[in-house]
Symmetry: C2
Subunit: 409 residues, 2 copies
C-alpha cells in the first residue's frame, strides 16, 4: 500500500473495484460484516425469482432433472473447489457447517483407527467445540481442548484428529494451515480444517498442504444468503475409506432405486444425507460465481491493504478512548477482519450500527470489522473509522437503547 495515497485514490487503483457493482448494497450503509453474513449479489435476485417461479412453480417435480437440482451438491462443490485448492470431486455442498463437522469428526476417527483423542483449541468457534463435545460425550473418545499456544504440542500418538478453524472468528488470527497439517501428519494425526472465516477472503490451498478434511460456510464471504448450505472437503485419497454416520438416502449409491439396503455412493456423494436444500443451494451458486471472478491473490492483497488502513487510521485518529487491537499486528497472521477490544464493545457497536456502519459484537468485549475485498472500498474504511470516532467523542454509545442486548448479537 502506498501510504501517501488517499482512500479515494486507492479505490481508483483497485483492480477489484468493479465487482462492487455486482452487489446490492443498501444506500447509506457501510457494511463491514460480510464475515458474518455476506450481502446480496444483484444476480441472486433474478436467479431466485426464476428458481421459485419457473423451476419450482412451472417445472414442479420435473425440475429435479430438467433444472438439474439433483446435481446441485456436486456442481456447487466443483465451483468452490478452486477457491480452496481442491479438486472438483473433493468438495460437496450439504447441510449446515455444524452437521458437516459432525460427519467429518466421525469420519476422521474412522480414518485413523486405534487412536481415540481429538485435539482442538479453546475459544474455537462455539459450534466446533460443541459438536466435538457431543462426539466425546457419546463415544469412547477423549477431547483435548487447549489454549492456542499448547495445541500443537498436544498432538501425540493417541491423536486421531485435530480440529481447528483456520481464521479465528473473534481475533481474525490465522493458523499456518500447511505447517500445522505437516506437524499433525508427522505425529500420525489427521486434521479437519474449518474454513468458515477463510473461504473467499484468504487463499487456501488444501491440496498443496495435503490437507485431510475441511468444512466451510456458505453465507459469509461466499455471499450465499442467510443460512446457506455448507460445504465439506475430503481429500481424494481418503474417499474410499470415508464413512460418515448420517447415512441418508442422498448419500446412497443409487437413491432412486429405493432399495432396502444402504450402500454408500462410490464418490463423495456419500457425504450427503437428506434431500438438498434446493433454494439455499441456488442462492449459494450465485454467490460463489462472484468469488470465481476474482483472482485470490488480488483478493488477499486488497484484504490486507483494507485492514492495514483501518488499523493505521484507528491508531492515528482514535486515541484515548480505550480501544485495543485484538487481532495480530502482523498482516500475514490475520484473516480478512480486524477486531478491537473495548469494555463497552456492545453499546459502541450498537451506536456505530445506528450511524450506518455495520460491524458486529462478539462477547464479551470485541468489536469485529470484516473487510470483504469484493465490495469494500478504502473510502468505507475511512468513513468507518471517522464514524467510530464520532460515536466515542459524542458519547453516542451511552444512549440507553444501545445497552439492551438483542437475541442475536
Amino acid at each position: 500500500m502506498k501510504q501517501t495515497m488517499s482512500p479515494t485514490q486507492l479505490d481508483q487503483q483497485d483492480p477489484l473495484r468493479d465487482l462492487r457493482d455486482q452487489f446490492d448494497l443498501p444506500a447509506g450503509v457501510i457494511y463491514l460484516n460480510g464475515n458474518s453474513l455476506g450481502p446480496l449479489p444483484k444476480a441472486t435476485k433474478e436467479r431466485m425469482r426464476l428458481a421459485v417461479e419457473k423451476e419450482w412453480g412451472e417445472g414442479l417435480i420435473r425440475s429435479w432433472n430438467s433444472a438439474d437440482w439433483v446435481n446441485l451438491p456436486q456442481r456447487l462443490g466443483a465451483m468452490i473447489a478452486p477457491l480452496i485448492g481442491a479438486q472438483a470431486d473433493e468438495v460437496i455442498v450439504a447441510d449446515s457447517t455444524s452437521v458437516n463437522l459432525f460427519k467429518l469428526i466421525h469420519a476422521g476417527l474412522k480414518l485413523n483407527p486405534g487412536r481415540n483423542k481429538l485435539v482442538t483449541e479453546l475459544g474455537n468457534f462455539p459450534t466446533d467445540l460443541y459438536v466435538l463435545q457431543g462426539v466425546a460425550r457419546d463415544n469412547d473418545v477423549e477431547l483435548c481442548a487447549l489454549e492456542r499456544e499448547s495445541v500443537i504440542d498436544a498432538i501425540d500418538e493417541q491423536t486421531a484428529l485435530v480440529v481447528l478453524t483456520q481464521v479465528h472468528y473473534k481475533s481474525g488470527e490465522m493458523f499456518d494451515l500447511a505447517a500445522v497439517t505437516r506437524r499433525a501428519h508427522e505425529r500420525g494425526a489427521l486434521v479437519l480444517w474449518d474454513l468458515s472465516h477463510s473461504v473467499g477472503a484468504v487463499p487456501v490451498d488444501l491440496n498443496l498442504a495435503e490437507a485431510d478434511l475441511a468444512v466451510g460456510c456458505g453465507y459469509k464471504y461466499l455471499n450465499g444468503g442467510p443460512g446457506a448450505p455448507s460445504f465439506l472437503y475430503v481429500a481424494r485419497h481418503h474417499q474410499q475409506r470415508f464413512e460418515q454416520p448420517l447415512t441418508g438416502w442422498f448419500g446412497h449409491a443409487s437413491p432412486f432405486a429405493m432399495s432396502d439396503e444402504y450402500e454408500p455412493a462410490a464418490d463423495l456423494s456419500r457425504a450427503l444425507c437428506g434431500t438438498p436444500a434446493v433454494l439455499g443451494c441456488i442462492a449459494l451458486e450465485e454467490g460463489v460465481r462472484l468469488s470465481q471472478q476474482a483472482q485470490m491473490s488480488l483478493v488477499r492483497q486488497k484484504s490486507i491493504a483494507l485492514s492495514e488502513l483501518f488499523i493505521k487510521l484507528v491508531n492515528e485518529r482514535i486515541e484515548g478512548y480505550g480501544f485495543e487491537l485484538a487481532s495480530p499486528v502482523d498482516a500475514q497472521k490475520r484473516g480478512s477482519q480486524v477486531s478491537l477490544q473495548h469494555p463497552e464493545a456492545y453499546a459502541v457497536m450498537q451506536a456505530l450500527i445506528a450511524q450506518g456502519v455495520i460491524g458486529d459484537f462478539r462477547a464479551p468485549n470485541i468489536l469485529r470489522f470484516g473487510f470483504a475485498p469484493l465490495y469494500t472500498r478504502f473510502f468505507d474504511v475511512e468513513r468507518a473509522v471517522d464514524t467510530l470516532l464520532e460515536v466515542m467523542r459524542d458519547e453516542l454509545w451511552r444512549d440507553p437503547r444501545f445497552q439492551k442486548r438483542a437475541k442475536v448479537t
Copy 2:
C-alpha cells in the same frame, strides 16, 4: 360421495375449492405429485422476493433480529403443531428429515435405556431404513427390519424404539398411529413416527395417541418448496431427558454467549444444530399458512372422495391393460395417494407426464398418484384417468424416449 354427481358438480360443492386459487399451478398440467413436491403457493413468490431483497438485501445481518430470522425454527414449529395434534412447544423446524431421523433415533435410544433393539418395517421409506442401518452399524444396537405383518409382534422387552412411517410412500397404506403406539407402549417401547406422507393430508393427533417422537417433511403436502426444512416433534414429557448427538450452536441454551461449553437449551431448541436455513424456512412458512386455512376433517373427506373417484374410474374405464391397485381398497387404510402396479410403470408414467398428467414412478413397478385436497379437483381426477386410458390405448408409452431412466424418478 354421491355417486351420481359429475366431477364438475363435485368440484362446485367442494368446501375447499377456493384454496386452489392460492396456488400457482401451470396451465395445461394436472399435478398429482404433491406427495413428492407440493406446488408453489402464490403468496410465496412475493414473500421470497421480500426475504431476498428486503430482509437479506437491505436488512443484512440485522434481520436476524428485525425480521426475526432467529426464531424461525420455533415459529414454524408452532404453526405446524396444530396440524399434527401437538402443542406449540413440541415441534421445531430444522435440517432435513434424514438428519432429524438420526437425532431422534439416538434420542429415543437414550430415552429408553437398557434396551438396544430398534424395530422397523422392510420397505419403509429408504432414508428411514438407511439412517437406522447407520445407527446400528456405528453403535451397540440391533436393528430388526421385518415385513409389515410381523412388525408389531417383534416389539418386545428389548425394544427401545419402533420407527415407522405412518403413510407408506409406495402403497399409501396407513398405520393406525394410536393403536401401534399403544401396543409399543404396552411393551415398554417408544415409537418414532415419520409423518412425511401424512402431514397436511391426513389428520394426525400425536397428543391423543400419546406419541413419543415424530419427524415430517416440509416439501410434500406442506408445500414448502424443493428441499424445504423438516420438522420434528418431541412429546413434552420427554423433553427434559431429550438428548441428541448433533450438538451444534443453535441448540445451545445461549448461542450468542459464545461460551466454550455446550449446554443444551432448556426447551426443544436443543434439537437444533447449525444456523437455520433461512430462505428455506421462509418458503415453508408460506406453505404451512395454506394448510392452516383448511379444516383437517374436510381435507381428509375430500382426499378420500378424490381417491375413491380415481379408483372407481380406473376400474370402470381402464380394463385389460394390466393395472392392479397397489393401495388398500379400504379408504380408511389409505393416505392421500393411490398407487397402481404395472409391468411398464416407468414408461407409462413418462408418457402420462408428457401428456400433462404428473404423477410419479417408484421402483420397480409402481405408478403413484397423489391427491392433495388443497388444489386437486375432481375434474383433474377424471382427466387423469382418461389420459391414462389414452396412453394405453394409443400405446404412447412405447415411445423409446420414455424407456430411458432419468436420474431422479
